[in-house]
């Protein structure tokens, strides 16, 4: 019973940690827009956490530059299980227009498993919200898998 309760709760209280790996700030602003009263991501229990230790969903924007690569790996290691990595915008998926730049080490899949990916340059807040809802489902499954 407790397990079930915790599983359901896991799906309903996703805390977000936002990480910028060299984004142009377009997607960052859209993430903030998703939290504003108009879209109100807190309906789903979302909360922006200040440290990876509290996070359930890691939102990653940007094409993973050489500078941010080590930081990305290090931060992801510090997140407690279960957690979901969500790529926001086209950059983490494909490096977008920055592809093959001397300073870009992306895409994100090289360094971690991406569970949800939201495309768009910049992606719409609605899309981010949908992505978060999808991510909560994955989070629930991960929690279930963790206990088995």
């Amino acid at each position: 019973m407790f397990n079930k309760l915790i599983e359901n709760s896991t799906a309903k209280s996703p805390w977000l940690y936002h990480m910028n790996t060299g984004s142009c700030n377009g997607c960052d602003i859209e993430i903030v827009a998703a939290l504003t009263p108009h879209f109100d991501a807190e309906r789903f229990g979302c909360k922006l956490a200040g440290t990876p230790r509290h996070a359930d969903i890691i939102l990653i924007t940007g094409p993973v530059t050489e500078q941010s690569k080590d930081r990305l790996i290090r931060t992801l290691e510090q997140v407690p299980e279960p957690y979901v990595v969500m790529a926001v915008g086209s950059c983490p998926n494909s490096c977008n227009v920055f592809k093959d730049s001397y300073s870009v080490a992306g895409p994100l899949e090289k360094y971690c498993h991406v569970d949800v990916s939201v495309s768009g340059c910049a992606c719409k807040p609605e899309a981010i919200m949908l992505g978060v809802v999808k991510a909560t489902e994955i989070l629930k499954e991960k929690r279930r898998a963790m206990k088995k």
Binding site: E7, S9, T10, K12, D40, G45, G50, T51, R53, D56
Partner: protein, 312 residues
């Protein structure tokens, strides 16, 4: 049988379970109210329960620089001491445990959760937590002076340091809030509650945007959940203390109804001193916070103390 009753009191009502559930509900109400004031839909009422149970299911990472014992024990002791505090506070006219001069005992019990946050944060070994504990401690020094003065003003008015006597006095002479000399003290306590509970304008210690959640920076999983619970319980205990001190005279003759009324008052107080400042204020700087408490709030409390001293 007596042991059974005592256990029920300690563990269920008005002890651990009651404070935990009530506190989490009040925290949910707070979040909804803030959302409404910002024209949002807001999270469901039981969102704090979801948060708590989710955190129970996450991994707990003990960082390399942390002291294991203090790191794990601090949140538990904080929760326990708040549950014990509630036993001293009269709810609906009666407290589970009463003693003489328990006002000072309550004052000290209320400092333990803050000390636990500080020791836990300090034990986690994070530099962000170091900044956080510095702020938490200064905040504690700030609000302690007005809080002490408010308690002493009420004690002088009643002539006793016992909470039970204070409530009994209000049954006789009407609520403390309706004695005009006590109104400044009541306002002062209303301003102390957000500081003590650490909500928005006074949440410097856990400023997530500046110092990465400060004292809680390294906490994860179950201990973090305990601290969340601790935060929620603290709001409940503080508002209940306000109710006992200033609105203790409300009596319908039926104790359960009194308790329900108390809980409703607590909800209103949460709106007044947690949601409202949260929605309209920006975070203060620490030295401003200190100044605010030691001048304006302490001044209000001192006014009441002096008035009470002259028998008004």
């Amino acid at each position: 049988m007596e042991i059974l009753i005592a256990l029920v009191r300690i563990l269920i009502y008005p002890g651990l379970l009651f404070v935990a559930v009530g506190g989490l509900l009040l925290a949910g109400i707070d979040r909804i109210l803030v959302a409404k004031m910002q024209r949002r839909v807001g999270p469901p009422l039981v969102q704090p329960f979801y948060d708590f149970f989710k955190l129970m299911g996450k991994e707990t990472i003990i960082p390399h620089h942390a002291n294991r014992t203090a790191y794990l024990a601090a949140p538990v002791i904080a929760v326990v001491s708040l549950a014990v505090t509630m036993l001293f506070i009269p709810l609906g006219g009666f407290s589970a445990v009463s003693g003489t001069a328990d006002l000072i005992v309550v004052l000290y019990l209320l400092t333990i959760p803050a000390v636990c946050v500080i020791v836990g944060g300090s034990a986690s070994g994070s530099p962000y937590a170091g900044v956080g504990i510095s702020r938490e401690m200064v905040a504690m020094m700030s609000y302690e002076l007005p809080l002490v003065m408010v308690l002493l003003a009420v004690a002088k008015k009643v002539g006793s340091l016992s909470l039970q006597a204070i409530v009994a006095y209000q049954f006789q002479n009407g609520c403390m809030l309706f004695h005009w000399s006590m109104i400044p003290a009541a306002i002062a306590l209303l301003l102390v509650i957000p500081g003590e509970a650490g909500v928005q304008p006074f949440d410097l210690a856990e400023a997530e945007t500046e110092i990465c959640e400060g004292t809680l920076a390294e906490y994860s999983g179950a201990p973090l959940g305990m601290f969340e619970l601790n935060h929620a319980m603290k709001i409940f205990v503080l508002t209940a203390l306000f109710t006992a001190l200033f609105l203790g005279g409300i009596d319908t003759g039926i104790v359960p109804l009194n308790v329900v009324i108390t809980f409703v008052i607590c909800g209103v107080l949460v709106w007044l001193c947690c949601s409202l400042p949260h929605a309209i204020c920006a975070r203060l700087r620490i030295e401003r916070l200190f100044k605010f408490y030691w001048t304006i709030v302490a001044g209000l409390a001192a006014l009441s103390l002096v008035l009470a001293w002259f028998g008004l």
